[in-house]
């Protein structure tokens, strides 16, 4: 437990913005991962100056600082493994500027993604990274994790939309990184380094973000496949076929069964379903792309193909994918849906093989896993359905996670596509990045010589994620 000077913190942010009851410290020790570790104090800064003062105090006293947004991280990124101060950034929630002529906006880190998009909508533009959790995810958290979502295939991830930022360093200094322009040629683009650094290099206090026009036309299609390999073939053909989908989603048979088990949406019990979408400002161009994707699906034995521009019909087509998340949670009364091996990215040509590998590993280890994801960006998601009260299930889960990521590395994939590394994927990350870990440690040291910013994550996390923290389950 870190030695926290609560009176000093209260002096900085006001008494009403510091929490230290054991219940507060306990609940701030969780996110959407399997991990738990209580924090030592929760502090809500309102402005940059307060963040600087907190960092100066923490740096002087070598106290860890963990910045936290919506608390929806899936790999333990905001779990304070070494205690310290949790910075709840949600009070820094101002949209500072929307500048349509120069195509950027400036926001504080506590702004929620959906709120930003509501504010941008009247200007006919949107901020595209938008993860599934955009209703609660903050821009700061999205920057920390380089978040993305279903449309990353066309519009990219957070890193592609961040033009610049202001960051408070570990010693309290404020630096301005990046630009407000679309391009910036050479020099170390440190704002891009901050994106995806999971709060280990600095505290983002302002971000300059690009946005894009809301497309006038959007068409969503769907194809069924009796063989997973055919769906995989269609994915690779679409991505190499001179078409630019705005969404390309895969659902495997386990995912389909899970949805069908929990709700009656009439989804065919096939090996795989692909959802493909095109958008644009001209209908002719969207028609062309949708027809091309339809043809490519047909060439790979896709059946039951349908598509629609109508928003209500699109919602209906997408409903199975949308309901997958809750369906997995409700799959069984005795099994819990855990965020493990939750994401990865592989080359397009390996998508089907990866899904098959996930099934094989799950079966061998006596757990249930599904494969779904934004295959247009090579992103594969899964969940492990297991009885979290049984130690043998955790042993199996750990073995399965190791096996899956070993395979991912063997096909030149990467450990995380968009959920981040945190604690639960750190072992796989360290294996993948083995020959650059020293360089990363040196970068970390340059930013944070006293190692106070979110310590114990990424390259610092222990090999065994099961014992890295308390698990948020009661194991018998």
């Amino acid at each position: 437990m870190a030695n926290i000077d609560l009176p000093r913190l209260k002096e900085i942010v006001g008494e009403e913005n510091v929490k230290s009851d054991p219940a507060d410290l306990y609940v701030y020790g969780s996110d959407s991962s399997v991990h738990h570790a209580s924090t030592d104090a929760v502090v809500r800064p309102k402005n940059t100056e307060q963040v600087q003062q907190i960092m100066r105090w923490a740096n002087e006293h070598r106290v860890p600082v963990i910045s936290r947004g919506g608390g929806s991280a899936m790999c333990g990124q905001t779990v304070p493994v070494q205690g310290g101060i949790t910075l709840d950034m949600k009070r820094m929630n101002r949209i500072l500027e929307i500048n349509p002529p120069d195509v950027y906006c400036r926001v504080e880190p506590g702004v929620v993604d959906d709120d930003l998009n509501s504010a941008l909508k009247p200007f006919g533009v949107f901020y595209p990274p938008t993860p599934a959790s955009s209703r609660i995810a903050t821009i700061g958290g999205e920057i920390g994790n380089n978040a993305s979502g279903v449309r990353s295939v066309k519009y990219g991830a957070t890193r592609d939309s961040v033009l610049g930022m202001k960051v408070v360093l570990a010693n309290g200094d404020l630096v301005t990184l990046g630009t407000r322009t679309r391009v910036e040629a050479t020099g170390y683009q440190l704002h891009k380094l901050i994106v995806g650094s999971e709060g280990t290099l600095g505290v983002v206090v302002e971000a300059t973000l690009g946005f894009v026009p809301i497309p006038k036309f959007r068409c969503l299609g769907m194809a069924n496949f009796d063989r997973l390999e055919d769906a995989g073939g269609a994915i690779a053909s679409i991505m190499a076929g001179g078409v630019s989908p705005s969404m390309l989603e895969l659902m495997d048979n386990v995912a389909i069964k899970a949805v069908n088990k929990t709700m009656d949406l009439g989804i065919p019990d096939v090996a795989a379903i692909l959802l493909y979408e095109a958008d644009g400002m001209g209908k002719e161009a969207v028609d062309h792309e949708i027809n091309l994707m339809k043809t490519l699906c047909e060439q790979h034995n896709g059946t039951g193909i349908k598509s629609s521009y109508d928003p209500k019909e699109r919602t209906k087509i997408f409903m199975g994918r949308k309901k997958l998340f809750p369906a997995l949670s409700k799959f069984s009364d005795t099994l819990s849906s855990t965020s493990l091996a939750d994401d990865m990215a592989v080359p397009y040509s390996k998508m089907a093989e990866t899904a098959a590998k996930i099934h094989e590993v799950a079966k061998r280890n006596n757990i249930i896993m599904t494969a779904y994801g934004h295959c247009g960006s090579g992103c594969m998601h899964t969940k492990i359905l297991m009885d979290p009260t049984r130690q043998d299930q955790w042993d199996s889960a750990r073995k399965a996670v190791d096996e899956i990521y070993e395979y991912v590395r063997s096909v030149h994939g990467t450990t995380s596509a968009e959920h981040g590394i945190g604690i639960s994927k750190a072992s796989a990350f360290q294996h993948e990045k083995a020959n650059s870990l020293t360089l990363m440690a040196n970068v970390k040291r340059a930013f944070d010589p006293n190692n106070i910013l979110n310590p114990g994550k990424l390259m610092q996390a222990p090999e065994n994620w099961v014992t890295a923290t308390d698990l948020r389950y009661m194991i018998d």
Partner: protein, 315 residues
């Protein structure tokens, strides 16, 4: 009265349910308490986490935790939004049952009866949750059953009933918001929306300064139409407002039958306006189905069209 020891007789059965909560946080997007304080500790997710902590022995029961658990308006938006299908408020109710009668029990948002009570029993009769009773000469609130709908608060002729911590839903706070908005140049009307019928999104970001015209109406979330007092509905008109719109649940949808009471209030006030030669359309009520954002906006637009046609109350 002697306090009983804390035991988890009711909570125990939810052990595996607490595991099923994946702590995604989708519940707090809708929680009026969490939106008001913006502390994680006030979110349904955090309360579930506290319960888990107590069951696992990692967290000792405390008045602080009890205060959190007894603070809930039972709008049940969290349960509807839960991606794991966890009946969140049912879990809270059982946790309350375990806290009730212990040294830790706290009022939270449950209604409290003050010394001004004349024991007329009106609150006992109107309580939709059978949470109020008359025992040994005093009104007693069953804090496990009380869902903080606030209907008793409005009913009490002596104003003896209060909800001590109201998280921005109390009359005083809302009256202040009404007055502040209607002081603005463009401020014309107030829309009272219940948390269930109105789908408010997170709405926590502060928008940048705008050169556009300020909106002509302000939406205030009062949780349940049944909490609105008649005089409260007149506040906007007394503050030079042009009109008031009350949004509540469709018939049969309100857990507290608050929509029936709201309709009764609005009908009464419309008649009252007529007797004063004021167009009754200045006070209207609309029933909005859960999640019908566009229907709600259409209703507001129609209302504002009518209000603008009527013009200011004092010409």
């Amino acid at each position: 009265m002697e306090k009983r020891p804390m035991e988890f007789n009711h909570l125990e059965k939810w052990k595996s349910t607490l595991d099923n909560c994946i702590r995604c946080g989708y519940c707090y997007e809708h929680c009026p308490l969490a939106k008001h304080t913006r502390w994680e500790s006030d979110t349904p997710r955090a309360k579930m986490s506290m319960l888990f902590g107590m069951l696992s022995g990692e967290l000792a029961p405390s008045s602080y935790i009890a205060e959190k658990l007894f603070s809930c308006f039972y709008c049940q938006r969290c349960t509807a939004a839960c991606s794991s299908g966890v009946p969140i408020t049912d879990v809270f109710t059982d946790a309350r049952a375990d806290f009730a009668g212990t040294e830790f029990e706290m009022p939270g948002t449950t209604s409290v009866t003050g010394k001004e009570c004349a024991a007329c029993l009106a609150c006992v009769r109107v309580c939709p949750h059978e949470a109020r009773s008359f025992q040994d000469g005093v009104i007693v609130t069953d804090r496990v059953k009380c869902q903080s709908c606030g209907i008793c608060v409005d009913t009490c002729p002596r104003q003896a009933i209060t909800i001590e911590t109201a998280y921005g839903t109390d009359r005083g706070f809302l009256d202040g918001e009404v007055a502040a908005f209607l002081e603005k140049e463009n401020g014309k009307a107030i829309v009272f929306g219940c948390n269930w019928s109105f789908y408010p999104d997170l709405q926590t970001a502060v928008a940048p300064p705008s050169n556009d015209d300020e909106p002509e109406y302000k939406i205030l979330i009062n949780l349940c139409g049944g909490r609105l007092q008649k005089t409260q509905l007149l506040e906007p008109l007394l503050n030079n407002g042009w009109g008031v719109l009350v949004a509540c649940c469709p018939d049969g949808d309100c857990e507290h039958d608050g929509n029936i009471k709201a309709k009764s209030h609005v009908n009464y006030l419309r008649s009252l306006l007529e007797t004063m030669d004021i167009d009754p359309d200045r006070i209207q009520l609309v029933q909005i189905a859960h999640g019908d954002k566009s229907g709600f906006q259409e209703a507001i637009d129609t209302f504002m069209e009518r209000i603008n046609a009527l013009g200011p109350l004092i010409q």
